[in-house]
Symmetry: D2
Subunit: 152 residues, 4 copies
């Protein structure tokens, strides 16, 4: 079920090239579905490191609230994958990333996904409003308006 | 964000008790988000083994097309988790599972999720209409009508 | 390369039955080699929980220093595996576990392994002599002499 | 427990730079021990791709028979790791790799390991003598004598 559209690096704020590990496969002979959710986490990790070079991913001020993932085609261990990620919107307490994973040579879409994160105080164990400085840093990094659409 | 409702075994067709592995945790100190997607696969694996005791999970006649997952609360490695799974609907070529993962002692909801599978011929590498015998086996196993709602 | 000897539960202090997850497989169609190292950790986790029911595995007073593992036969996802573990010896600062993993029905040996752990203060980030109460608890749990052999 | 010696790229035939995934960590806050065994597999995968650019790692003509691994220091998710691998010896049916994993900036040794592989016919499910062309390719790639030492 490959998409007709060929994804481009320009559609994403951060694009990361990933060489699968053999451990990422399963007995179906292809990359296991749960591993793509780890690839999304790799994309967030790279995104956050670019946003703030001093960041420690163990100290990020959010928790994952939701993931939605479409599996468009299977990928094999000898393929090189491109992970694209961009911020979709910022709300009062939450923000969303959009992702696409495609095969490097052919441009074949493998996965399309979104995740919603909620700002979180890990010590107090409760959600937080989006801190102003973080919103500014994200808007500056993305270089565009990130207000949440009224009718999503 | 625990749900007020306490999940019960009666809501699910198959319920499986899972003791997390230490490897399931990450440096946040809790079960990693991608691992829950593996727990959903464990639930499908158990479901399929109950449906057909001779089944080999490497030969299941479907592929995963979509997963949507809400993370309701964090779980720790010393907690015992209950995985509940039931079929939601059967369409022309696809069918959906609904899942819930909850902490055994407290009944605290950890994850709510759905997956959509598409019937698939792995040798021919193409999708298939749902085979009649499989539909009958699933309806018999679930003991209820599984027609896809017209307005989902 | 199955061993002629059939392993028995009596050879091990703790024996745990493990149903593999589909995620444990790789594209060779069998359980991936690194996953057995996780199974050894599962065995330690179960051992430690039996030793001290109030134990939190995130607080164990040791680090892993060495693992040696022989892969005797391949295992498939639809097999049920038995994990056997016993303490081998206790030294001044370190102690060793011996493990065997076998297929439940046939008794076929899948893995034989040993690990060496060093007592460790995670806060001070340094090794420690084996604490007296821990040595006593281990000897009592094992029910036999655990002095390290002079000529190992 | 860092080694006094600082590892160099010249000691290994293939050196691969690896950025850990957050999923590689566990609740101890560091890279999980079993993940290093996957890193060794990544090193073999890269080695084999360099040896034969047309190689498909799912078709390698060997099985893993043994792994021995010393954990020298802990590594954190924000560290970059160097994986060094070289062939140690070739025997009649088997061959051994030596590995070292070190932190890129400091040169701190994280893991030292060896693995033994046995030549294997996956279809016939039995071991094989080392094929002559493979031995020649390995010796040519390593550029040195690989006879197994008589007194290992």
């Amino acid at each position: 079920m490959p998409a007709a559209r060929r994804p481009t690096q320009a559609e994403y704020t951060v694009v990361h090239e990933l060489v699968p590990r053999f451990r990422d496969t399963d007995a179906m002979g292809h990359i296991n579905n749960a591993v793509y959710i780890t690839y999304l986490e790799v994309a967030r990790q790279i995104y956050w490191a670019r946003l703030d070079r001093r960041a420690d991913y163990r100290r990020v001020p959010f928790i994952l609230a939701n993931v939605a993932c479409d599996f468009r085609s299977e990928a094999l261990v000898n393929e090189v994958l491109m992970l694209g990620i961009r911020l979709d919107w910022i709300g009062t307490k939450s923000f969303a990333f959009v992702y696409e994973i495609w095969e490097k040579t052919s441009g074949r879409t493998v996965v399309e996904a979104t995740t919603v994160q909620v700002c979180y105080d890990y010590e107090a164990k409760r959600t937080l409003p989006m801190p102003g400085p973080l919103r500014k840093a994200l808007e500056s990094f993305e270089g565009r308006d990130l207000a949440r659409p009224v009718f999503p």
